[in-house]
């Protein structure tokens, strides 16, 4: 049981600055997910916590002890690797016992610990087998077991589910979640899969190019992304982005070029006042684009045509064309008979709209979602 605290942690490989000034505090028994595209520095950050990579700058503190110069074995951590990393020449039992034997735990206690872990994970019948005789899911359970028997202060997970097929991955995700309730331990989990991040994390850390983009609970990040990148990374189907221009018209501000002009309400106009004449980007979640008129105040109504539909059974995805642009709408009633070429009117509640500055990671300018926008943003040129 321990708190993990990263302060201004940096990693440089020669000229490559892989991790920039990461500040992160993982509370005791909290489950934090680091997520981002490959090469964003999330695995490097995790390996620095584990002690498998040296730290170029900053401090890492586990349970109130600075561990910068401690070797991995003295950090009281356990780690699950992407390819399980089971010792191929040992039986499952010896794999589980390895760490405890290294710590000179009496053999009787080792047996007790292994029995406990094996019953949690349901791997008792596998004890005499070698890793090569196990399926992917079984190997993954053994790898988890190797962590559990050690009773470490911190669990580290490096993309543990990415080698499993889709069905097994979903199942193991649920098992991991159940495991958390039985073995509550501070955990840091690295993944590139946004679904894993959303479902497993108490909090999510989104990273890109070695920089933390945003830290928050899954819903905070989903509803109030700090920048365009976070908006695009979380959610499936992905957020729509529409380039528009802020224009002064009739004494107020409008966003032009997305079908008709969108007249901005006062609060939004105030937020965008500094961007008159500039390009900005509207971010729209597909499920917030509704077919039809919409009812409430503050709704944008746009006319467009349907390009194509994708029937998923529970819902339809509809690709719409408005003027020159296309956007994807989700959550459409599957029984609606829609065809490519049909004209359609659809509506977007203005309080669901995000506005970002131009650019791939343009910071959010306006977001009416619930929750605070936490945006410790810096840009690297």
């Amino acid at each position: 049981m321990a708190e993990v605290k990263l302060t201004q942690v940096n990693k440089r490989y020669g000229n490559i600055h892989a991790v920039h000034d990461v500040d992160l505090t993982v509370a005791d028994e909290e489950f934090v997910v680091l997520v981002g595209p490959s090469g964003c520095g999330k695995s490097t950050t995790l390996r620095m916590v584990a002690g498998l990579e040296e730290i170029s700058g900053g401090t890492i503190d586990i349970g109130g002890r600075v561990v910068n110069d401690l070797p991995p074995r003295d950090r009281d951590i356990a780690m699950v690797f992407q390819n399980y990393a089971l010792y191929q020449h040992m039986t499952v039992y010896d794999n589980l016992a390895f760490g405890l034997r290294n710590r000179k735990v009496p053999e009787a206690d080792i047996r007790k610990e292994i029995d406990r872990a094996a019953s949690i994970l349901g791997i008792q019948p596998l004890m005499a087998r070698k890793p090569k005789q196990l399926s992917g899911g079984q190997q993954q359970r053994v790898a988890l077991g190797r962590c559990i028997v050690r009773n470490p202060a911190v669990f580290l997970f490096d993309e543990p589910l990415s080698n499993l097929d889709a069905k097994l991955r979903a199942q193991m995700r649920i098992e991991l979640k159940e495991l958390r309730t039985r073995v509550a331990t501070t955990s840091i989990y690295v993944t590139h899969d946004q679904v894993e991040a959303m479902t497993l994390g108490d909090r999510i850390v989104v990273m890109k190019d070695g920089l933390v983009q945003q830290i928050g609970t899954p819903l905070e990040l989903y509803r109030t992304p700090a920048n365009r990148f976070v908006g695009s990374f979380l959610g499936s189907p992905a957020m729509n982005f529409v380039d528009v221009t802020v224009v002064q018209k009739n004494g107020g501000l409008v966003l032009s070029d997305f079908g008709a002009d969108i007249v901005l309400p006062d609060a939004m106009a105030a937020a965008l006042a500094g961007h008159v004449g500039k390009n900005v980007v509207i971010g729209l979640r597909p499920e917030h684009i509704l077919m039809g008129e919409g009812s409430s105040e503050g709704t944008i109504r746009l006319d467009g045509s349907i390009v194509l539909t994708e029937q998923l059974g529970a819902q339809q995805l509809v690709e719409l064309r408005v003027g020159e642009r296309t956007v994807m709408a989700a959550g459409v009633d599957p029984d609606l008979r829609l065809q490519g070429g049909d004209a359609g009117r659809f509506s977007i509640a203005l309080d669901r709209v995000h506005v970002f500055a131009a650019g791939d990671s343009g910071p959010v300018l306006w977001s009416a979602g619930k929750g605070q926008v936490t945006a410790p943003l810096r840009h690297v040129s």
């Binding site: 584990a50 002690g51 498998l52 070797p71 991995p72 074995r73 950090r75 951590i77 356990a78 780690m79 690797f81 992407q82 390819n83 990393a85 089971l86 010792y87 191929q88 020449h89 390895f98 760490g99 290294n102 710590r103 190797r146 050690r150």
Partner: protein
């Protein structure tokens, strides 16, 4: 997933030469090819064994007459130098295998896992030495062993052999370690091992099939080696490959004796082929 299901169209199978043959023909073709290969490789050995059992006058007419004898073997084994040479070859092959493997395993591991100046320098060194033709090593080594006073001793033969093995086999060893997942060692580090502990207790046992294969290859290489044995030894430490060649004399070549020695020298190789084959195949697959 089948390509054919969507369109109902099955692309015609691309016929290879073997597919065109009838099932029986395929089998016959296979047997004939094996026979052909066997003929090329096994016939000389067969001829060698026949020659070794012929009396001296019969060696040029091995295909004529049926007089066979084991006398050649006895005659050869009565020569002290031959027995001595067998012993020397065995000792040199075993020792050089042992010593070169201890270096090769660690050096292959370093090449596989570490980057940096030291690893690069080592990599460059053995790369350069590997590109030098084997035969050009011999003359300088002759002078060096003379100068150090270890010419015609075990040491004078062992050191060059070990050096060559390190250059040649570090690469193979690197390949074995490349095939072993490094995160296994990371897991060991977290599980309480030091860096050396992770190497010795996790990486090394996983590489054992490869190491076994390499030691077999290494031993056979030294056993069969001729050039170093010829140049770097004299009467004190005769090696079997050299002694075998010394049945050529001014009075002619004693083919029958030479063949008998050669057949006996083949025995270790055969033993290895029969019992060690499993390890060599498994090891080279790692």
């Amino acid at each position: 997933m089948s390509v054919a299901t969507d369109t109902g169209y099955t692309p015609p199978k691309r016929g290879s030469f073997l597919d065109a043959l009838a099932p029986g023909g395929k089998r016959a073709f296979f047997l004939l090819s094996v026979l052909g290969v066997l003929l090329i490789f096994a016939f000389p050995v067969f001829w060698l064994v026949l020659t070794s059992m012929r009396p001296a006058w019969g060696v040029y007419y091995v295909h004529r007459g049926l007089e066979f004898t084991l006398g050649n073997y006895l005659e050869v084994l009565e020569q002290e130098v031959v027995v001595h040479a067998f012993f020397n070859s065995f000792v040199i092959a075993t020792l050089s295998t042992f010593f070169s493997l201890t270096v090769t395993v660690t050096s292959g591991y370093m090449l596989s896992r570490f980057t940096g100046k030291l690893a690069n320098a080592w990599f460059g060194t053995i790369y350069i030495f590997r590109t030098i033709p084997y035969i050009t090593w011999v003359l300088p080594l002759y002078f060096v062993t003379q100068w150090w006073g270890i010419f015609d001793t075990y040491l004078g033969l062992l050191l060059p052999h070990i050096a060559v093995h390190i250059c040649f086999f570090s690469w193979l060893m690197k390949g074995f370690f490349d095939g072993i997942d490094p995160s296994m060692e990371s897991a060991a580090l977290i599980d309480g091992c030091t860096r050396w502990g992770a190497f010795l207790r996790v990486a090394l046992p996983s590489a054992l099939p490869g190491i076994a294969a390499l030691s077999i290859l290494c031993w056979l290489w030294t056993w069969n080696e001729f050039l170093f044995a010829l140049i770097l030894t004299s009467h004190n430490t005769p090696m079997i490959t050299v002694v075998m060649a010394q049945f050529v004399s001014e009075l002619g070549t004693e083919w029958n004796l030479m063949s008998a020695t050669a057949v006996m020298a083949m025995v270790p190789a055969l033993i290895v082929a029969i019992f060690g084959q499993k390890y060599v195949v498994r090891g080279l697959k790692v």
